[in-house]
Amino acid sequence: MATTETPAAPGAQREPNHAWRLFAVWFVLALAADLVIWFVWKPHLPPGDMSSSAQHQQFDIAVLAVTGAPVVVAVLLYFVYAIVVWRAKPGDDSDGEPIYGNTKVQATWIIGTSAIVLWLAVFGTIELVGPAGAGAGEGPSPIWTLAGKQTTSWAPGTNDMLQVQVIGQQWTWTYRYPQFGGMESSSLMLPVGMPVAFHVTSLDVIHSFWAYQLGVKADANPGVDNVAYTTPKATGGFTVRCSELCGIWHGAMFNYGQVLSPTAFQSWASGVQAKEQADGVLAALPAYTLTYDPTVIPQLGKNIPAIDGITGAAGYYYGPGNPVTP
């Protein structure tokens, strides 16, 4: 178990009676709480186990809960005990014993809390560095990266890392796949079991790309390429929401994605690429870059509205005069 420190009942040395009683009850309750958390609650903890980063987050939340539960039990138990045992009897006007402090108790407390804090920091760092940022946005040049080949094309059954650009704008998400000719889609499709790098950027204000079931969250900043990694572990649908206030339709800025089998993903992506090629969408789209200058985008995308397109932004790349209302 992560924490073995006593609840540091003050004055424990002088009053073995209270202290031992508290300790015994605490031990039983804390153990029970931890067992329930680990064996009953953990499989149901958010965000689930749909991707590698989600699995790590679920594990982290469970470990933190197991660490925290004994502390919660200790403090609440102590207060309840104190309220019941040491309340003033009616008509009792006397004062309590003047205890100004207890060096041993204070030292135990400080050492105990410091040990928990150090454990949390070390654990958190390992869990951040190990799984390549654990699904969080890591800025333009991540130092903790996911294993995978950086290639210009992508094929199933390899270790190619799929590059997906996530473009936030008021108030919609658009996804571009540079390994498929820079084609764009309004729904996020991913292959299962293969590493994915999200390049999150924005065309106007700050958004935050939150693929809830995948355990990925990265702010979409204008002019910044914010990279996040994950590996989907199961096929199925997931939700994408904006989790940074971005204007009046922030609440409606969500859409859905799908994790497919690698071959199904490849046929979907090639199909979209071929259709956009045929429709002229690819030619009209701004060239794929990691960031886009919002003042240039309207000129670049000006041909798109003419195409009865399949683009997520309905052709309106960045026009504050034409906000996309869902």
Binding site: P46, Y100, A121, F123, A136
Partner: protein
């Protein structure tokens, strides 16, 4: 230890009777002249803005001239404070006139109610002004919260449209975060700070009073955003959304900056007062814990809030004079705003939390009838929280892409804060050990504080861990977390302070039955409102949305109904407050809690100059249960013996 003394006379001055005849009320400066000044100022500023910047390009959604609006606010504030007479003494000095008599500084004012509506320099009057102001601001912010919860009764928008929803969210958040930063420092800090350290006055009474009178201006300006359709940025005001927003954003920046100035003024005054105006014998080791908390908070305000004022100013000039501090493609950076805002924003969180620690420490000792356990630990805890709060701001930006390789460091500093915060719990728990606990209403609120703040703190550990935070960041989990620390911590401590200190401030005690009903309803419905929000956040509901997944509707409805009942609980308090103060007026003049603390040794309400003579502090404030404990102070020390007979060696008279 010369610092323990103060250069103040033990004898009251004999300056003679007041010589200046008072003008009739409608000619002397007060709220009415302030209002006139504000209106004149606004129209002048608006005209000036149109004159200067009428042809400036406007921010994209603004349909008004932002220059005119900002200058209108600016001159309205100048007119308001000038009308209140803030500058009168200053200009008087410049013109060589003698300053008004000393009596004004130490509360020798007329006994009527008029002094509460003027620029009064007595810290006790300012404290009462703050008390009523803060209750009004808190109720306003609370009403906005009711509107938010009404909208969230249904998973799609049904009552107020998205624009109005964001307006309500922004007004609620900003009102609470900026105005409530003074909710304890204002009423109780200003009122009891000098009383607790044995001083007749504060160091800078004019700054202190100005600090209060800026708050109604900030309040009105913030509310004026409603006239422009509000602001879409919430209380954080992120760029470049703020640049794109309609004119309500000007009100947000201006009001927040103005409130920042008020906080800086209050902080300076408090620091200097606590350092320099302690009575002889009031050593640092005898300082009541509440004063320690005020001291720490004041340092946070003086050091952190200027960053906010700067950020607000830069936001305003970006919107009005077309600078580009925060515009990425013109050489600015939206990261800069996030950094500046949270460099203020995290100390701000502790500006909100620490006063609660102070109030609770006072209350717990009195109602446990025991000395505070580990006095030094408590003081160290407050200072530790205060210092560490400057090193954690990046945890608000874990997913932002700013400096991601520094995240382990900020994870560590964030978790380190739980050590000094834990001290506060150690002190509380140690004081409860074998105590004689009395469950008076202040004590009930203190107990609830420990419970609520604990949940807030434990949930903070989940947020400090970057991988776990990736799911929780920006979700209702965060929202529940900081409502547990601020509403469950600060506001519960505020009510604890009201029930504890109102008899001292006014000589009237609140009805006890209604008080207990208020406590129990507030405690139960607070928890039933905010505990489910943790679950909602973990289940994927982001903050500040009016639409959410349909499967979360039941839980949201539960929360909304609880929130309405919580509002009803605050209403019970309001009824109790109004009825007790206006109609029932049950007197309470003694020392009902049998507190040792210095303020309770005075008559109720405290005399105008606080202490007839500067008291000599003889003992600490928490010596409960000590046989033959000295009284906390000699309130009437014989002249000439200060420093030799009473005070410890070295604490000579100044």
């Amino acid at each position: 230890m010369a610092i323990e003394t103060q250069p103040e006379r033990a004898e009251p001055t004999g300056r003679g009777p007041e010589v200046i005849a008072r003008r009739p009320w409608w000619l002397s400066p007060g709220v009415h002249t302030g209002l006139i000044g504000a209106v004149i100022g606004y129209f002048f500023g608006h005209w000036l803005g149109n004159f200067l910047g009428g042809d400036y390009a406007r921010s994209s959604l603004s349909d008004a001239n932002d220059v005119a609006i900002v200058l209108g606010y600016l001159f309205a504030v100048i007119g308001w404070v000038a009308g209140l007479g803030v500058f009168n003494d200053l200009f008087g000095l410049m013109l060589g006139r003698p300053l008004p008599e000393e009596g004004r500084l130490i509360g020798k004012e007329d006994p009527g109610l008029g002094k509460y509506f003027r620029y009064t320099l007595d810290h006790k009057v300012v404290g009462i002004q703050y008390l009523y102001g803060m209750i009004a601001y808190f109720l306003t912010g609370g009403l906005f919260a009711m509107a938010i919860r009404t909208e969230l009764l249904s998973p799609s928008y049904h009552l107020i449209g998205p624009e109005q929803y964001l307006m309500v969210v922004g007004e609620h958040g900003t009102m609470m975060m900026m105005m409530m930063s003074s909710v304890i420092l204002g009423p109780f800090g200003q009122y009891f700070g000098p009383l607790l350290i044995g001083s007749k006055r504060v160091a800078f009474p004019r700054l202190e009073a100005l600090g209060f009178w800026l708050t109604p201006a900030a309040y009105v300006i913030l509310l004026s955003a409603v006239l422009f359709g509000g602001f879409p940025t919430g209380w954080t005001g992120y760029e470049p959304l703020a640049l794109q927003a309609q004119s309500g954003e000007d009100a947000y920046f201006f009001a927040f900056g103005l409130m920042g100035i008020s906080m800086i003024l209050a902080g300076f005054n408090m620091i200097v007062t606590i350092i320099n105006y302690r009575a002889p014998g009031m050593r640092w080791s005898r300082l009541p814990m509440f004063v320690w908390s005020m001291f720490t908070v004041s340092f946070l305000q003086v050091l952190a809030v200027p960053v906010l004022v700067g950020a607000c100013y830069m936001g305003l000039v970006d919107r009005t004079f077309q600078t580009s501090f925060f515009t990425n493609q013109l050489g600015g950076s939206s990261f800069l705003y996030e950094d500046l805002f949270w460099f203020f924003g995290h100390p701000e969180v502790y500006i909100l939390a620490l006063p609660g620690f102070g109030v609770i420490s006072e209350v717990v000792s009195v109602f446990c009838r025991k000395p505070l356990f580990g006095y030094k630990i408590a003081a160290a805890g407050m200072l530790g929280v205060g210092i560490l709060s400057f090193f954690v701001w990046q945890h608000h930006l874990f997913d932002s892409g700013i400096n991601p390789d520094m995240r382990p460091l900020f994870m560590l500093t964030t978790e380190l804060i739980s050590i000094p915060t834990g001290f506060i719990y150690l002190v509380g728990m140690g004081t409860f050990w074998k105590a004689r606990i009395r469950f008076s209403i202040p004590m009930l609120f203190a107990l609830a504080f420990y419970f609520n703040f604990f949940i807030g703190g434990i949930s903070g550990v989940f947020l400090s861990d970057v991988p776990a935070d990736t799911t929780e960041h920006g979700s209702f989990f965060v929202m529940a977390h900081f409502h547990y620390t601020i509403m469950g911590g600060l506001i519960f401590a505020f009510f604890s302070g009201i029930y504890y200190w109102l008899p001292k401030m006014t000589g009237i005690k609140l009805n006890e039955t209604l008080g207990k009903i208020h406590f129990w309803t507030m405690f139960i419905f607070f928890n039933s409102t905010f505990l489910p929000l943790f679950a909602l956040g973990l289940m994927g509901m982001p903050r500040r949305v009016f639409e959410y997944a349909r499967n979360l509707e039941t839980l949201n409805d539960w929360v909304s109904i609880s929130a309405f009942l919580l509002g009803g609980s605050i209403l019970i308090f309001l009824i109790n407050f109004v009825m007790s103060m206006l109609f029932w007026r049950e007197p309470e003049v003694g020392n009902p809690w049998r507190s040792r603390s210095l303020e309770w040794q005075l008559s109720t309400p405290p005399p105008p100059e606080n202490f007839k003579r500067v008291p000599v502090i003889l003992a600490g404030p928490y010596d409960y249960g000590v046989k033959d404990a000295l009284p906390v102070a000699d309130l009437n020390p014989p002249p000439g013996v200060i420093g030799s007979a009473y005070a410890p060696a070295g604490a000579g008279e100044g």
